[in-house]
Symmetry: C3
Subunit: 264 residues, 3 copies
């Protein structure tokens, strides 16, 4: 647990700038969560703007939740520069499987860029892994098959870390496979939990190995969610409490509460 | 009251996917309110994306709060597919009357698509009904004439349900006319109450007759607003309490608290 | 203090419509803060829409936080009409200095339009004033040189009011120089504080002299922030408390708590 807790510290110390090109639904939550986690968010999507911004950023997060042609242009320009600069790229393929446009765009980024992390729910990752999956809008879907196997083989194929969010988050870099059991159901009752997790995976990947970074990110948000749920009266009051809990999360609390399993 | 309360249950049971093409100001509130109400939101606006998404959606909500040409393209593609699939289309003509662009766009959708619901404030609906109306930005305006008559005749003309939000919400499908007295002034002190109501009208229209659905939606949000106002110290604390109150609203509470009048 | 407190009253009395073309990250916060402050927000960016909207607006706020070509088109159309109508234009050059695109766009608006207010952090204003500045994404940066001098000379050069936000906000109209010490560090731990301040500067500039208006805006938000920080457990709970505190801020509280220095 110590090594994961240290990643929390590293983010807070180095305050990495996380460049995010994301959907217009949860973008404010992503910005605030990035700050609460100890990093700095910057949102920029114009092809004219992203190259300069990537030069000073430490990670790039691409979230396709409200995709369009203009946004793809900006994402490509940013990803090209991120590749050149060698900073980690996180892809959140929101809604892959629900529409062909989203699936194909996600695949395009997977095939054309050296992604550090692909993070989605079971339906999205299942779709991209080519296994039978059901996706309904942007809700978490289901897959046939073992998520550990799917994460492992997709990670191996693309040389990146794959995160499948769920009751147990599964994380694999193609070698190791880990599970994170932290979290509470109310986290699924607010819009943006997945998007915020991707932002935070970006912050962690900016300061550490992607696999360890994603484990840390998922466990930290899960623990904060558990903490926030203690006082929340519903999804409305959960959200501010969640931001507070992420901000005040200590190493000690992380080490005590993290439920991380190494499966392989 | 029983039949309206049952619509609440139906939404929670069937969890309809509500496709929303909406403004970038209140989109996060709309997503969260849709979830709190028991439905699922999905936001998608690219012409390349919307057709696939509509195929799995149960309602389409078009909100013109921050309109532009690209968004209109996406709205038209989505509305065409919604028409083909026979799912209800809700139009929230935000700011109609304030600018010609908004008025004409709203009219275009009214004339070209079989809308299930048109929901706006007095100024917006008055403008679209061709009565003398004052609209100031996106604030609720005033109309000359009886809102019951205006809602009734506009609904009749377009074969849809018309909702005029206000201290008393007026709802008509061209045959019946109903009023909903639930709600509190602080609901007008946060941005997005009207947009959230439209999202929830979409959720209800997905599982029931539009007229009954809109009555249910307006009464449910009004009751939740009354509940939330009891503990709120201002608009800031009202908002999370409002989301909590919608989430925890029971049938019993709805039946006890709904103030619905059938005028015709 | 009396004259500043009266500006608070004037905003609440006249309820000016503040037209905002802004970034998609903090737009909801800007809308809500505008309402809490006693004004009315309207967001509209399409060239086809902005001209009609400006005709009924009392101020225009341009925030370049998530700039793109389409948005610049809308900003230019709106600024041209605002110039014609003689309403104050506030520019928030978010991220100027971080990318050339942002710097040049900010300069373009400074050179082509009669701005009433330029409001940014030290790095942004330093960049635009041509002094050595460091900017990191959209975070507040540093400048070499005296912020009072920089604000004063930039204000003089452009015939407008310049606000440099910081631990002490510096405000100058090229003649007077004032400082506002209100505020708390947690205001920098939520996304959007600067954007909300620009919106509120627009509301105040709509009803008063820009210099006095900006002093009032910065002091009022600072005092409300101090109040909200008393009960906040972190950035998450700070935000709703901040909105509540702005809404309930009284003249008496303003006069008692404002820490405004006139340096020249």
């Amino acid at each position: 647990m110590q090594k994961y807790a240290q990643i929390l510290d590293l983010v807070r110390e180095r305050n990495p700038l996380v460049h995010q090109i994301t959907n217009y639904v949860t973008v404010n939550d992503c910005a605030n969560m990035t700050i609460c986690f100890g990093a700095s968010p910057v949102m920029s999507h114009a092809p004219e703007d992203v190259v300069d911004m990537i030069k000073i950023a430490s990670a790039l997060v691409l979230n396709i939740g409200t995709l369009d042609e203009k946004q793809i242009e900006g994402m490509i320009a940013a990803a090209n520069e991120a590749k050149k600069c060698g900073i980690p790229i996180v892809l959140d393929p929101v809604g892959a499987g629900a529409t062909l446009y989203r699936t194909q765009t996600a695949e395009r980024f997977m095939n054309e860029f050296p992604l550090a992390v692909i993070k989605g729910n079971a339906g999205e990752i299942g779709t991209l892994a080519g296994v039978s999956a059901t996706v309904r809008g942007v809700d978490s879907g289901n897959i046939s098959g073992d998520p550990k196997e799917i994460a492992h083989s997709l990670a191996k194929e693309y040389g990146c870390t794959v995160v499948i969010s769920g009751a147990e988050d599964i994380i694999s870099d193609g070698k190791r496979i880990a599970g994170v059991l932290n979290g509470v159901p109310i986290m699924g009752k607010i819009s943006g939990t997945g998007c915020m997790a991707s932002a935070v995976c970006g912050a962690c990947a900016a300061v550490s190995d992607s696999m360890d970074g994603c484990i840390t990110a998922m466990a930290a948000l899960g623990i904060a969610g558990e903490e926030a749920a203690k006082t929340a009266k519903g999804p409305g009051s959960f959200k501010p409490a969640f931001f507070d809990a992420v901000t005040s999360l200590t190493n000690e609390q992380f080490i005590k509460s993290a439920r991380i399993s190494e499966y392989q």
